[in-house]
Symmetry: C2
Subunit: 451 residues, 2 copies
């Protein structure tokens, strides 16, 4: 008999059908056994009656076993209909159970309601805990975030390229870069596709990439992982950094809209509310943001070189109260505090045309306009005390006619974490790597709390 | 004036418009100057007449400069219409040229017809040569291959996950794995997401991933690069390995169809013909394939443990002649020659249910059914002399009810190379890494031919 997906069972009331999936719940009520079965499409309740040929197997089969089920789709009596759950109007009267993959006894409860693990245990058992609907909901949302980024970029004529992971000695970073034994030489894992996306932009005009970046920060906070999914974009022929701001705003707006549409059930299950993005997100220079914080709180951070986490939280609260927006753009950072390629404001070169988008007080996105003039790049390399030799390929691209350009980058895990209100970025990472863990803990010593 | 994309100029005949792009060609004919301009959407011819206010700039501007152009869209006189090229019925009468990014003199000719570089020089100047339409066509085809893979997977209910690049000490590989300094420990770059995709499959049933894999083979052939884009899929609840075969065949068929549709111009420009895939691709066991080679050529490779490149070429020629198919599936390899997780044929356990898809004599795809029974996996680990500890997370997934399952993987660069008939995989890789090159050559010593 051909397999039917669980989500389609409602179309087969009165018929004998075959489904395949996992046993989520088994409740042995003596004479009868009740089940919840799940497959990739959903969940359905099943019952094995005392006279069913499947009753012996039903008494024996363990939770999380993979099974093939035969049974009749019955409409539930009116009083048992549950409109709130999938397939709440039907029940499968099971006549056959075939075990396709046996399960051992579970080390802990992974039922929807019974699941209650600390994060360390959850990660120690990632292979099993991934079956829980909470974790499935998180990674479904993440898949939609990443795919919506690509969809929007394609709709705007951006060309997708594959950014490299292995890099030669680079001008960027230092201590926070992972080194690789590369045959008899040394190579490094990329910290950012920044220079590559700028190179590819000079040929394809508008480019994007979904790629891995690597950070060797020796830090074990709730925000640090070593391998990150970066969503990167770069565009040429802009009139000003505001074109980049607008493109990034529309990208984030589209992602939120698609998550809202495609993950309504998941958001509800996780108790998450999408952040509010206005038609036009409030946009302040760093100086204006600092003035605002001073005016509202009396705390004087005017003239500081950046916003610290406390500033970011306060700015969020001020903007939220004033406008209702969960988002705020901050632009115009001190030029010397940022990388060499960020474009200085021609009217006030002490400040640049870099920008960050904060959501609920946390940075989601950063970007801005870049320098497109070869001589200005050389001059910046000199001031930043960097060897042109180390960015030779990048510099070559800029010798030959590069228009005004800019771009932005988003971290997929951080966005997932923030949208869903998760407390630790590891919850938003399928196989999180940090200084203490790659799949398993790297030592037998107990890792710090929250690892 | 608002920028118009070059592909839309035909809709603006008789109007004064603004375009932005690069100077592809400049032909100074004394009184007049002719140009080809290009942007991300296409190419148009421009002419600067003697009395144009732009004539001075036109005499001065270099090829590959980034420019903003103002001009009037004129219909060409009938005799000058060229129906074969984009915008062959119009010409832009240029009245203004603004240089947005100056180009230095080019180190070599990168015009459509004049381009003629050996691959080493091409790669040494990747940042510039990427502007050539030949290279743009190659990477457009590659982007469509990768995106079509994702599209088909999504249409078949596969869940996209992010496979990790950093792995702990693994059971796979040995000498051909890149080592990373991971804080005070050692970690490795993944050779394959195989075990991770199987883990994620046990939770999501059907999964796919577009991810980087890394191969440290100390080899400098035309087929070896160290960083590869791998297209991976895995599916549960199969009835036999033939379900995996069929899914992989439909995936490849969809990719070819989309490349045909979306890259017709690129294929023509590159002189490439898509390989022929029949409604049902010829499918032979290894033993049958060896018999066929013996029967057709008299060369006796019966009983050999695998097909070598010569066998693969001959098999291709035989099948092509017999059926017209450029593709052939070969399945049923000696169990002990393949990884521990490949499913042995229950009726003849000396041979497995692994498979390869060859196109024009080269392997494109490999996959097959995997072992889903925990005890059988443990038994194989013992026979393969591998430590269960090193695949602990993988094994945990298989303790708890895994249905019959299988999957497959494709290399994006190899597919691109084969479809386009390229001679070296580096031509099909945006930033190829090999033992002698990461962007630039790793030594000043001349690399072997073809590097």
């Amino acid at each position: 008999m051909e397999r039917i997906l669980i989500k389609d069972l409602g179309k087969h009331v009165g018929e004998v059908v075959s489904i395949k999936g996992w046993v989520s719940v088994r409740r042995d009520q003596g004479k009868m056994v009740f089940f919840d079965f799940r497959d990739r499409s959903g969940v359905v309740q099943g019952v094995v009656l005392p006279k069913s040929p499947a009753i012996e197997t039903a008494k024996d089969v363990r939770v999380e076993s993979a099974v093939a089920i035969e049974g009749k789709v019955n409409a539930r009596p009116e009083k048992n209909v549950n409109a709130k759950v999938q397939n709440g109007a039907i029940e499968l009267e099971v006549t056959g159970i075939r075990v396709l993959g046996r399960a051992e006894a579970l080390p802990f409860d992974i039922s929807v309601d019974g699941y209650n693990l600390d994060l360390t245990t959850e990660l120690d058992h990632r292979a099993l805990t991934l079956r829980h609907p909470r974790l499935q909901a998180i990674f479904k949302v993440q898949a939609v975030i990443i795919d919506s980024f690509r969809e929007y970029m394609k709709s705007q004529d951006f060309f997708e390229f594959q950014a490299p992971a292995i890099t030669p000695a680079t001008a960027e970073g230092g201590a926070e870069v992972f080194q690789i034994d590369y045959f008899d030489k040394r190579a490094y894992l990329t910290q950012s596709p920044q220079l590559y996306k700028q190179i590819v932009m000079t040929a394809f005009e508008r480019v994007f990439s979904v790629n891995k970046v690597f950070r060797a920060e020796p830090s074990a906070t709730t925000r640090h992982i070593t391998e990150i999914v970066s969503l990167d974009a770069e565009m040429g022929f802009i009139d000003s950094w505001r074109d980049v701001r607008d493109m990034s705003e529309n990208t984030v707006r589209y992602i939120l809209q698609e998550v809202g549409k495609k993950c309504a059930k998941e958001l509800e299950f996780l108790g998450a509310t999408l952040p509010t993005m206005l038609d036009s997100t409030p946009t302040l220079s760093l100086t204006e943001a600092q003035e605002k914080i001073f005016a509202a709180t009396g705390r004087d951070v005017r003239g500081h070189k950046d916003l610290n986490p406390e500033d970011e939280r306060e700015l969020y609260e001020i903007i939220k109260k004033e406008t209702g927006s969960d988002f705020v753009y901050v632009y115009g950072y001190p030029t010397r505090q940022k990388p060499f390629y960020v474009y200085p404001n021609p009217e006030n070169p002490e400040f640049n045309e870099g920008m960050d988008l904060l959501c609920r007080g946390v940075e989601w996105l950063s970007g801005g306009r870049r320098i497109n003039d070869y001589k200005q790049l050389l001059e910046h390399l000199r001031i930043w005390n960097m060897e042109p030799k180390k960015v030779e390929m990048f510099l070559e691209a800029f010798r030959y006619g590069v228009p005004p350009e800019g771009g932005f980058a988003l971290g997929a895990e951080r966005m997932t974490m923030q949208i869903l209100g998760l407390k630790n970025i590891r919850e938003a990472t399928l196989f999180p790597r940090d200084m203490n863990r790659i799949d398993h803990r790297l030592s037998d010593v107990e890792a710090p709390d929250g690892q």
